[in-house]
């Protein structure tokens, strides 16, 4: 699905990723944990194609394609999804209209006709209900005056509607209360199947109690210093980043 080899990335001359290797296969859930400034968010933004990052070395293979050949919207339409840590507020654009436009962009990319209005209404209603998102919120402007929890739920709603093959969740648990964390995690778990993959970026092991990862990686100074299974997350919680990084 996603194969990152020896990735070196810098921002304005400052090196952030320093020889990162990561391979994610179909149906797997990987967790990426690391201290502040270790390059977690840079990795997620770089994968989604954001401007301002310079790749010095390395390669990224996504489903047999060179990911770097694809524009941001092409990556999204090819099934790459980033759930933002801080989703943008878009005043003047109604949430449901945005969702419909996004769905239709993907359908167009795959040569499908636009989604039927009734079908869309049904789809959005059922998905929103599962995430405890009120119909009123869908009529409001996208992310404008949403609470932190509502914004994160909105990201997961977009994810479930677009049904991506490879999802990256960038600190989706930050700013969530316990109930919202449970709802969001259940939303993610429902989407899990043998054909899609997840990269869950988080500081805390708590999210991983809900979204059980197949692999846990620890990132420090722009590269993965240790990989393991779920027990690594538990070990990390106990010992802290510094000690784990040292033993790596």
């Amino acid at each position: 699905m996603l194969n990152i080899k020896d990735l070196h990335v810098s921002i304005e001359g400052k090196k952030i990723l320093n020889g990162l290797n990561l391979s994610i296969n179909k149906g797997e859930v990987h967790a990426l944990m690391g201290p502040n400034g270790s390059g977690k968010s840079t990795l997620s933004y770089f994968l989604s194609g954001k401007d301002g990052y310079e790749m010095e070395r390395g390669s990224i293979d996504y489903n047999g394609k060179n990911l770097l050949d694809l524009e941001v919207d092409e990556r999204a339409n090819e099934g790459l999804f980033l759930a933002f840590q801080y989703p943008m507020e878009i005043p003047g654009v109604q949430t449901s209209f945005f969702l419909k436009t996004a769905i239709n962009s993907k359908r167009k990319h795959h040569g499908l006709p636009e989604i039927d209005a009734l079908e869309f209404a049904k789809l959005i209603k059922s998905q929103a209900q599962e995430l405890d998102i009120s119909p009123d919120m869908l009529r409001r402007d996208l992310n404008v005056n949403y609470s932190g929890g509502e914004k994160k739920k909105q990201e997961i709603l977009q994810m479930s509607l677009l049904n991506p093959a490879m999802s990256i969740l960038d600190e989706t648990d930050s700013g969530l209360d316990i109930d919202a964390l449970r709802i969001v995690s259940e939303g993610v778990n429902k989407l899990r199947n043998k054909d899609n993959s997840f990269l869950v970026i988080t500081h805390y092991q708590r999210l991983l109690n809900y979204i059980k990862p197949d692999y846990v990686h620890i990132i420090a100074d722009g590269k993965i210093v240790k990989s393991g299974d779920f027990s690594l997350a538990l070990e990390l919680e106990e010992k802290g980043y510094e000690e784990i990084s040292k033993t790596a």
Binding site: K50, D51, D73, F84, P87, I90, P91, V93, A102, S105
Partner: protein, 367 residues
Amino acid sequence: MIKDNILNDTSMENLSIHAKEILLEKNPFKNFKIENYRYAQLHKNIESQSDTVKSPLHKDLTKLTTDISHNTFANIDLKPTIDKWGFSNSDSFFRVSSLVHRTSISINLDNFKETSLFLNISNISKNITIQKKDPQLKTLVLLNYNCDDETPKSLIFNVAENANLEVVHYDVSNKKSFLYFEVKQSNYSNFNFASFQSNNTHIRNEFFSSLAEKCNFELSGLNFNNFGVNDNYSFIQHVKPSSSSREVFKSIVNNGAITNFQGKIYVDSIAQKTDGYQMSRSLLLDNISKANNKPELEIYADDVKCSHGSTVSKIDQEQIFYFNSRGISKEVANLLLQKAFIIETLDIIQTKDIKDFSIKLLDNLLT
């Protein structure tokens, strides 16, 4: 020069408060007129790009005319019925000398049974006075588009006590256009004015409004895809207590065009409890276009609520990235963000058909 002409030609009696103020130089801001016209560049001839602009637009406007005049709305055709309304020969004051002593036509909207009326002002060179006395809301659609006549036009709205009037103005002019709107609102009246400006070469619109007691006045303007200079000036006078005015102007500037907005809220010393709001915002799409926004407040009362704001910005690339990351192309994202920026100005239109049409026209003309 303009002032001299007026002093020679016009007796003071017929002048509006604002005009007298200018003529008697009571205005505390001595450089008022220089500022007022500073960016309008009215003396310049700006080449019209008529060939590139005309074709898609004409189609839309012809359709507009057809939609509005034949299907739903009554068409005020001035020519055959002009006797019926009669001429009002009283001189209308206008600060541009060419309009002084011009004959006026007076139209009483209450004489029509229809609630929405359409008036094509493109080829009218008379001063038009619109009367509205009845409380029943009427919507007047004004159309100003390419015509060979480049003389300034003036429209004066007399909104009587308790009367309700809405005006939606479409301004799509390849030629130089100068429109002067003056609104006189009596007590307890409501007046909404939406001005839709696009594909213009060189236009200036002036909005003068005078509010009596407990009136509401809403003025909104949008302009986008213009060439040359697009200029809006507004002067809203609260001369009696307890009125509210709300003004929103938004412009999207590209093609190296210049958009100007200058707007003043004036609150007389007796106009206590005035509620005034003004917002002007411009979106620049390239590095060669310009936006000059100048909000002004002039307040002599001490118990009022007045606020104003002004912004000039570019499209937020972080927002574009957010759209992109959901599979929506840059082009579509750009259009959606432009629409999102400007559509608020159409909110004040109360007549659903006309609002829907305006949104459709916006969709068609945004590129």
